[in-house]
């Protein structure tokens, strides 16, 4: 496929460049056709510093430490990464962005890569906890093919700190085998049923954004509200519902699968994974609204294995690998190249790609919710109640 001539005409170069910028051809094709790939490869082996720009992935060390979310990665992809580069992936999972921030604030985490959500990145930049990304070390990241809605939060003050990994929604999953035909459509339904028929069978996240947000939405307030009066209403609802809850946890899949719990606040991918194995479990996007979010791959300040970090991020952004991840975790990605590789039944999946009218009322999380002491206290008081 590569056109190896000793030199390439100027017109052909410009034509290929235009095609590349439009996204019609891959970077690999462009590099190969114009001979730039060969040149970079030659230079790369001659000048060690440029090695990262090419595809050479060996010599990055024997491990990379990843902090991520539950049920987010296909283990097979990590095994392939380890086999190809010699670096084993050591993953720890967290249930909320607050947990990740707390660990980073305390310092000495030893993380190389972590997965922050869109609204947290500006705070990480303010607190100097995140590393600006050197995009030349992530050749698989092609800004043009990413939906700006989901990729944009990774850039703060013109500097790219995080690259888009996937996006998703926050709604709730309900096991319809127990609903006796009742239509579940709104957050009000969620809380009403929790305190009645599903008493002792519902879970909420150990995560203030989604749990307080779910309570706020049932009143019609904003998901991100920090208004004390609205928060007070939400807190009353949460405390009233607490005796009826099965658990407060962000690791909700095992209980849903075992049948101990029948309903839970849920993210897109978990809902898809559950529905795949237990078709009675359906995903509901509350009619009042909910959260629309995008997750990113980022590097914390002081990451001990920087080469491995970049290698892992680059690997995960490779459309072929990303496609396999999507098939496993069920979260949609903002990368058009990956969409081109996905089978139609996934592209048409209503859980992964909700109808437009369901997406409209959703809100992106707001940075202030991460730092607002009022929200943190409401959640802590709810858990302590």
């Amino acid at each position: 496929m590569t056109d190896r001539s000793d030199f390439i005409s100027r017109e052909k170069f410009m034509a290929e460049l235009a095609r590349y910028e439009k996204g019609s051809v891959s970077r690999r094709h462009f590099m190969g056709v114009t001979g730039l790939g060969l040149a970079t490869g030659v230079l790369g082996s001659a000048l060690p510093g440029l090695r990262g720009a090419a595809w050479a992935q060996s010599g990055i060390g024997d491990r990379v430490i990843l902090a991520s979310w539950p049920n987010y990665h296909d283990p097979a992809n990590f095994e392939a990464f380890a086999a190809a580069t010699g670096a084993a992936v050591d993953m720890s999972v967290f249930g909320s962005n607050e947990e990740m921030l707390a660990k980073l604030q305390a310092g000495g985490t030893g993380w190389d890569v972590f997965v922050p959500t869109n609204y947290t990145i500006s705070t990480y930049v303010d607190l100097d906890l995140i590393e600006p990304l050197d995009l030349s070390r992530i050749p698989n990241y092609d800004l043009a093919s990413f939906d700006p809605r989901f990729a944009e939060p990774g850039t703060v003050n013109g500097v790219v700190y995080a690259v888009s990994r996937n996006w998703g929604t926050t709604g709730y999953a309900v096991n319809t085998a127990h609903t006796a035909g009742r239509q579940m459509a709104s957050w009000k339904d969620f809380w009403d049923v929790t305190m009645a028929e599903f008493s002792g069978r519902t879970m909420v996240h150990d995560y203030q954004l989604t749990t307080i947000g779910a309570a706020l939405k049932s009143f019609g307030y904003s998901f991100n509200s920090i208004d004390p009066k609205e928060l007070a209403d939400a807190e009353n609802l949460l405390i009233e519902a607490k005796p009826h809850l099965f658990a407060i946890t962000s690791d909700y899949q095992p209980s849903m699968r075992s049948g101990d719990a029948w309903m839970t606040i849920c993210w897109t991918g978990d809902a898809l994974q559950l529905h795949r194995d237990i078709p009675e479990i359906v995903y509901v996007l509350g009619t009042e609204g909910g959260e629309l979010w995008s997750d990113f791959l980022a590097i914390p300040k002081g990451a001990p294995h920087l080469d491995a970090a970049y290698a892992l991020i680059n690997y995960l952004l490779d459309p072929a690998v990303n496609m396999k991840e999507v098939v496993f975790h069920g979260y949609p990605v903002a990368d058009k190249r990956v969409d081109a590789l996905l089978p139609p039944e996934i592209l048409n999946d209503p859980i992964m790609y909700p109808a437009a009218e369901l997406l409209t009322p959703l809100e992106f999380g707001a940075a202030v919710t991460l730092t607002d002491p009022g929200r943190a206290e409401v959640m802590a008081r709810f858990k302590s109640a």
């Binding site: 491990r63 084993a88 720890s92 305390a106 030893g110």
Partner: protein, 271 residues
């Protein structure tokens, strides 16, 4: 009564039995038996991170127990001849070390060290004379050993002091009367008498450190001990690998305890 005792042993061992049972699971779930297989033992033993966590736990436990035993025994010996305020202060410190919950010690150590590092590290960077980056203080082996050693040392002092209190003084006096140097007396009279106490204290300190999760959870920084690894595995989604690790630790401790017991029984005269 025998029935009762049997019931209690069942209560103690049924959950352990379940753990061991599922460690042989051929399937991936930790709660659904799908055939018999040794794969998880293989996976656990070949998992670099498990082996490293085990090694970290071992190193930290060994070091903190050794230091705690040595310094604790020294302190216990010295406290015999100390009265008044110093004695009161030490008694209070030991009491507090044992009484304050591990979680408070863990958290307090974490924020004290983090505050200290935030203050010292910029200074280090500023005064470092060489061209490469200054060494930076961080949580890790040091903080783990220091935090574990604290509680262990308190334990050692309590145990050894009790042992010293129960010693036969007349032998010491006799030894002095016969012209032995203080060190000689110590080596040949005191030490053999208190040695079982020292050994027991060391084993206790080692066990405490090896099994500790709460303090390690806060002060380990980027290091992973075995309990931290297990906790992190449970959050990741339990596979029977965790069961395999637990079963192996159980088997090793069972063997160790039985061996220690048979050695002690052979050494000591029938009491």
């Amino acid at each position: 009564m025998r029935l009762y005792v049997l019931a209690v042993y069942l209560f103690l061992y049924v959950p352990i039995g379940i753990i061991v049972l599922f460690s042989f699971n051929a399937g991936k779930a930790a709660t659904q038996l799908q055939g018999f297989s040794l794969q998880w033992y293989g996976k656990a033993l070949s998992n670099t991170f498990v082996m490293e966590a085990f090694q970290t736990s071992l190193t930290v436990a060994m070091t903190s127990a050794l230091l705690a035993t040595v310094f604790g025994t020294m302190a216990a010996l010295a406290l015999q001849s100390v009265k008044g305020r110093v004695r009161v202060v030490f008694d209070a410190l030991i009491y507090i070390a044992v009484m304050v919950p591990g979680i408070v010690i863990g958290i307090a150590t974490l924020i004290a060290l983090v505050t200290l590092f935030d203050w010292v590290n910029p200074l280090l960077t500023a005064i470092w004379p060489l061209a490469d980056a200054a060494p930076q203080l961080a949580l890790g082996y040091g903080s783990l050993i220091a935090a574990h050693g604290l509680f262990s040392m308190a334990l050692v002092i309590i145990i050894v002091r009790a042992r010293i209190a129960g010693m036969d003084r007349s032998l010491i006096e006799a030894s002095a009367d016969l012209g032995a140097t203080p060190f000689g007396t110590f080596r040949q009279v005191t030490l053999p008498q208190i040695f079982p106490g020292i050994l027991a204290a060391f084993l206790l300190a080692f066990t405490f450190s090896f099994d500790d999760f709460v303090i390690a959870f806060f002060v380990a920084g980027s290091q992973t001990t075995l309990p931290i690894y297990v906790f992190s595995s449970i959050r990741r989604g339990v596979t029977p690998e965790v069961n395999a690790i637990g079963s192996m630790v159980l088997a090793v401790s069972l063997v160790l305890l039985i061996t220690a017991q048979s050695i002690l029984r052979r050494r000591a005269p029938k009491s």
